[in-house]
Symmetry: C2
Amino acid sequence: MSNSQKSRTTVDIYGQQYVIVGDESSSHIRLVASLVDDKMREISSRNPSLDVSKLAVLTAVNAVNDYIKIKDQLERLKAELIKEKD
Amino acid sequence: MSNSQKSRTTVDIYGQQYVIVGDESSSHIRLVASLVDDKMREISSRNPSLDVSKLAVLTAVNAVNDYIKIKDQLERLKAELIKEKD
């Protein structure tokens, strides 16, 4: 994808500003950032002694875990759909 | 889910150890941790000046972004499957 199509969006996550460069719209990037911010605050409230980097790593672990689970669901559903079409 | 079913798995992510408590198997948790570790190293190689907490936040942003995209795919496929069944 050409560089000219990339958006630059400034977001605030856990009190820190980030400039996110990506192919997605700014509104999508702001949604993603707000979900990360929410998740970090949720994990922090359960583990108040965690520093920011550990908190962020655990947030990433959570998100990747959710991703794998939903990817499995998607694969199963795709297989089901192929079976239906046969 | 009862507490007795939770696994405790020690993983290494970006040179730091974490004990992950969850309902998933230890092998699943190790897979998730290795994906997060890979992603952090990939982002770090493209942005060598980032500190660990920013790196981890951007990894979380990436993971949540991937999650939302695949969730959208799943929703579309579910809608397609319902349509097929009608």
